[in-house]
Amino acid sequence: MECRIYTESLTALMDGELAGEEVSTIRAHLLVCRSCDAEYRSLLYSYELVGKAQLIDSQPSAWTVIESRIRTPKEDRGFLRRFFFPNIWVPITAVAALVLFTSFLFLFVPSSDNHSVAMRQLLNKYVQERDQEFGRKGVLSTQGVGAVRTVQYNPFRETVPTPKGNPFKAE
């Protein structure tokens, strides 16, 4: 019970608010009571830490602004806005999620357009290869892309090698 009275007076002691007699009494008690002494040292340490902290000088006008914002009531929002958007972060999150989902669809899901473009490229490549192949075989393409005119080419004709030299020459 006695210790509780002393510990309650410790902060007053540290702030220098006690009279000389009271100070002497408390200090005498601190010499004999370990728990109160420990409490006193703990408070002393806290005071030192607080003393080391740097205070930021705020502008006097800042307090006025803060106070006015505290005292001003929230603007009265319409019923529909309160009903649909009780929190402004809900629509913002929804829009962000929609954008992310759409981006995912565009990036990772092959669309039918991309597919058709790929197929179109494949078809163009085939036409080019076929034109080259037929060009080598003597099938001329004269009627636009992919068109062929079959002249002097029969796929079943065997090419007979031309004899070298004169076939009638005596060995």
């Binding site: 058709s116 494949l122 085939y126 075989k137 062929v148 079959t150």
Partner: protein, 142 residues
């Protein structure tokens, strides 16, 4: 002596078989060559009702897999000529017959691409896409 005779006989038999096969192939090739000319002339003269039967005679010839490319070439040339004359239906029918006659996936893929090309020319892009997908599938599984 007997062994030498047997060896000589084997060589002779092999040669005869090879020559017969060569002769058979030459006969097949010659028929196909003539028939191709007929098909192309029929297309040129717009006798479309005779084109498919004439072409089927080529497809009915027993072509070895190594010579399948010649069948594919015939089908491509004939269908391209038909396509140039805007007879897309007959071109597709001819390619369908060719597809029945070939066995390798490479040949089938080429024919499907040709079908896709004809569809594309005819404005049937959706159908062309399907044929191209089939061609890609066949090329991926040679």
């Amino acid at each position: 002596m007997a062994k030498s005779f047997a060896a000589a006989l084997s060589v002779m038999m092999f040669s005869l078989t090879w020559l017969t096969a060569q002769d058979d192939w030459e006969k097949t090739r010659s028929i196909a060559e003539a028939q191709h000319e007929i098909v192309m002339l029929l297309i040129k003269n717009k006798q479309y009702d005779k084109v498919l039967p004439a072409s089927k005679k080529i497809f009915a010839l027993n072509f070895p897999p190594a010579r399948e490319y010649q069948l594919v070439d015939h089908a491509r040339l004939a269908s391209a000529s038909l396509s140039d004359q805007k007879n897309f239906t007959l071109a597709q029918q001819l390619l369908d017959e060719a597809l029945k006659a070939v066995h390798t996936n490479k040949s089938k893929a080429t024919l499907y691409k040709e079908k896709a090309l004809i569809c594309s020319k005819n404005g049937q892009d959706g159908q062309a896409m399907k044929f191209l997908e089939e061609a890609v599938r066949l090329e991926e599984n040679p």
